[in-house]
């Protein structure tokens, strides 16, 4: 397998089990810089686990992951430093409920990067402004709608100025009418050339935004390719069956 360009991600033969549950079974994924790779597949196919492994929230059992040219699965790697360069956004937002929106965003820049408070707040304000959230800066997360909370979570990750963003089914917990505002933010990031790996059930969105789509099945990439090929002319029977189910459910 060729080395990805600097700034990309290379996942090679990664295995991960939780007890008897062998979730990732030797998965290979390559993400070039500025590429948007969408991970699709049924629940339990390993999409979230893969993202959590790339972010080192889960240690891998075997295989290796190279992020921006560095083997992050090597022993004695500084996980905090690696994570500062990778933003992750979760399905359930995971905002800190005891902090205002502003503090949610400035916490890591001030405490993990050591940026002074004033500069961190300016940075947060300009991001909030850009994503139409500036009037929420002093609110607590529970006062926001799901879509607003998820946009704040994206801003919180962006405030660390990561090279890579990992999005873990970020619209799955949202009411349908709130999905669009979050997808719009992701489109803007893609347009700017942010390197992203997106686990999603939104097939239409994946087709629009992805440079490449990886179909995960039983802990491996069953098929990967440009979206127009995966969605219109899948080669693998497993991919066809999965997409058929999606179409039957009226989701594509």
């Amino acid at each position: 397998m060729s080395t990805p360009t600097i700034g990309g991600i290379l996942v090679e033969g990664v295995h991960k089990s939780f007890g008897d549950n062998h979730v990732l079974r030797g998965i290979d994924v390559k993400v070039h810089e500025h590429e948007v790779v969408c991970l699709i597949g049924a629940s339990g196919s390993g999409k979230s686990t893969l993202l959590r492994c790339i972010n080192l929230l889960e240690p891998v059992d075997a295989g290796k992951i190279i992020v921006s040219g560095e083997d992050v699965t090597a022993p004695r790697v500084n996980v905090d430093r690696v994570r500062r360069g990778i933003g992750i956004v979760f399905q359930a937002f995971n905002l800190f409920p005891h902090m205002t929106v502003l503090r949610n965003i400035t916490l890591a820049p001030t405490e993990a990067l050591g940026i002074d408070k004033k500069e961190a707040e300016e940075r947060a304000d300009s991001l909030l402004e850009r994503f139409g959230l500036i009037d929420k800066r002093d609110e607590y997360p529970d006062r926001l709608s799901g879509g607003q909370q998820q946009r704040v979570a994206i801003v919180r990750a962006l405030a660390m100025r990561p090279n890579i963003m990992l999005l873990d089914e970020v619209t799955s917990a949202l009411d349908p009418e709130l999905v669009a505002e979050v997808l719009q933010v992701i489109r803007e990031l893609a347009a700017e050339g942010m390197t992203m790996v997106i686990a999603t059930h939104e097939m239409g969105f994946a087709r629009d935004i992805a440079s490449r789509v990886c179909f995960l099945d039983a802990g491996v990439v069953a098929e990967a390719g440009p979206p127009e090929r995966i969605f219109t002319d899948p080669q693998e029977p497993r991919t066809r069956r999965f997409l058929q189910r999606i179409i039957d459910a009226g989701r594509l």
Binding site: L57, A92, F96, A108, D135, D142, R143
Partner: protein, 299 residues
């Protein structure tokens, strides 16, 4: 939810204004309900009062426990016996000192217990052993062991402290074990996704704990913590077994000198007076917490 509502309009949202308390009370019970409950309370209290008054020793009990002169004398103190109120100041001192140390020590124990990783196993084990041991031994035995054992060791500074200091140490040892468990329950109640979010932002384990987990955990355990402190306030009386003259001991001295137990009533009253504000404060915090949850925000 609150889409499009500016900060200036906030007071407009939230739960509907609560009805005035009187109206709420009568709505809950109904006017007839209030009458019935008042009547029933009077009847029950009256029956209990009658039963006590009709008991053969009622006059003696009244004289021994509620004699006005003795109540006053034990409250103020006499030449031969200390004032229960002044002695009670020692209880307050013990409580205040012990409480501050317990809050800090127990938090440390709870944190040590939650540090993962094989390197920290001995510390975790020590924290577990500590809580098991000091929750298991009755307070009075710890008091005896510390109060009589440590001076017996003949150590330079540790063996020549005031009695009350040994008492405070014993209270701290026992209550820190309880309070550490309360903290730990709070720490465990913060969902691991909060830690994942903090760590994913590149915050260290310690900073995640400090900024994300502990503030949420401590907020949740304040009511049970205050409950433990009500227990602590009362248990300051046990320090008297080491010879300190605190309120309960002062009351005992008065009783022995005068063959009258009004002093106990005074001491009991003082303890109640001290715990009631804390109990109401706990209720207040619980109610506030519930209101906030219902209003849909946490501060």
């Amino acid at each position: 939810m609150t889409e499009g509502i500016g900060a200036g309009e906030l007071p407009a949202v939230g739960p509907p204004a609560a009805p005035p308390p009187a109206a709420r009370g009568s709505r809950m019970l109904g006017n007839r309900g209030v009458l019935v409950s008042t009547a029933s309370t009077l009847v029950v209290l009256g029956l209990i009062g009658l039963a006590i008054a009709a008991s053969p020793g009622a006059d003696i009990v009244r004289e021994r426990f509620f004699s006005w002169d003795h109540l006053k004398e034990s409250f103020l103190g006499t030449e031969t016996s200390p004032s229960v109120v002044s002695a009670f100041m020692l209880n307050i001192r013990i409580f205040m000192t012990a409480e501050v140390i317990i809050l800090a020590l127990a938090l440390l124990i709870a944190i040590v217990r939650s540090i993962p990783g094989p390197v920290f196993f001995p510390f975790r084990a020590m924290a577990v052993a500590y809580t098991d041991l000091f929750r298991g031994i009755p307070l009075i035995l710890v008091l005896y062991m510390i109060g009589f054992g440590v001076p017996g060791l003949g150590l330079k500074y540790f063996s020549s402290m005031e009695d009350v200091t040994y008492g405070i140490i014993a209270l701290v040892l026992v209550y820190s074990a309880y309070v550490a468990e309360v903290y730990r329950a709070g720490i465990d109640s913060v969902h691991e996704s909060q830690v994942a979010a903090a760590r994913s932002l590149g915050l260290s384990r310690w900073k995640s704990l400090r900024f994300v987990v502990l503030p949420q955990a401590i907020r949740r355990v304040i009511p049970p913590l205050l409950n433990d402190f009500i227990g602590l306030q009362k248990d300051t009386a046990l320090v008297s077994v080491l010879g300190s003259i605190e309120a309960a001991r002062a009351a005992q001295i008065y009783g022995a000198e005068n063959f009258n137990y009004a002093s106990y009533v005074i001491a009991a009253g003082l303890f109640v007076l001290m715990t009631i504000p804390l109990a109401r404060f706990t209720d207040h915090l619980i109610a506030r917490d519930r209101r906030r949850r219902e209003a849909g925000f946490v501060r």
